[in-house]
Amino acid sequence: MDVLHAVVELLKRTATDLPADVEFALRESLHREREPLAVSTLKVTLENIRLARHEGRPICQDTGVPIFFVTAARGTSYEGMVSVLSEAVRIATRELPLRANAVDPVTGINTGDGVGDGIPVVYFTEWQQDYHIIDLLLKGGGSENIGASYKLPDAALAAERDLEGVRRVVLDAVNRAQGRGCPPYIVSVAIAGTKDDAAVLAKRQLLRKLSDHSPNDALAAFEADILDEINSLSIGPAGLSGRTTALAVKAAAHARHPATYFVDVAFGCWAHRRRRIRLRGGEAVYE
């Protein structure tokens, strides 16, 4: 299978078939809930996931912005890869269909084929191996809109430049989000020295399995502790109250400049569509 057709298939699987660990976490959360609206919301969610997979329809009508994280085989051309990924998005938009989600902000015209300047988003690195790893995130607009960026120190939240400060702004971000981005969420937190690096690092954490932990002990403890605190806000599925506001928290940190301390909080919705493919020669392995 060539890269183009493998990526079309990747787009289709990602849009229609929720990762097993996310579905499992939603099923587990159903056992914890007691309030009728939380229970009925989760039941509808799980039925919808089953239906989407069974019928090959997009789990959510907002098939999002395709964000590709490419680790390319040595010698791969960046330009060539972007062109193949864009063509794959065009084909999937026509065939699956994905929703055509690229709008020119100046003219207001929807390009109609899912591709525009900067869409799909492609983060490209090359390595010494002879195969590609392509991670895909289909990121919906609802969860993207509730994302938040902070500069520490933040006097209003008494958030200083340490993990306690990060904890304070993350709790603030979740409280502000309420149910507007389709909880239960996957909450991703990144600290970095520039605004863009923090944003990309936070996005990248959304690729992690729900059950993994940060390799940094302090960040791993942070992830576990703040998950319980977030769930104690009782925002619940769909923001209609309940015990499950987030399924997982992922945290990461890059070095910062002495003058800067950016914290980016990114949210994944319950329809957390991420998937990875390994491509070697003509062989494609979907994870």
Partner: protein, 201 residues
Amino acid sequence: MSSPVMLRTPLAAAAVRALRAGQEVLLTGTVFTARDRAHRYLAERPDEDGFPFDLSGGVIYHCGPIMRKSVAAWEAVSAGPTTSNRMEMYEARVITRYGVASILGKGGMGAETAKALSDTGAVYLAAAPGAGPLVAKRIVSVEDVWKLDEFGEPEAIWKLAVENFPAIVAMDSHGGNVYTAVETRSAKRLQELLARTRAHQ
């Protein structure tokens, strides 16, 4: 939990006034999709531009569907609700101008919309977020579309026939609002959490 209230469009004023926040409903009849761009259009358009739909007693659905055109007709592939609060700056004007009886969306709306609901006797219904295929199954036919070329598929105004579309009364016409209690409790809990610090190392 009591059984869902059956609603049929055009919605009778008394039936809408009788709804209370927290009730489950099943909606049958016609809904009109309208999201960001369509709301600005509906709020600002001139009276004589040929807009073909009568929204009086009708339902506006915050939705940008995925549609597929076969030889015979359009079909909804995936059509769950979009986040409603982006429409807050237009909704009160839209409800009042057209006599809309119900908004259908997700995540709730703000104070101006709540006031318009009380003033006109309308309700805000919440559909299951992200439930694209499940909701698409309740759309029995796609009857018409307006501004398809200009706004594009997700943002056009689609006239849809629905049967037993499941939703929750999230904001009623008497000030009842299921989100208010959640927000108040969450804000209070946040203050408790911020009042103490936590040692991470």
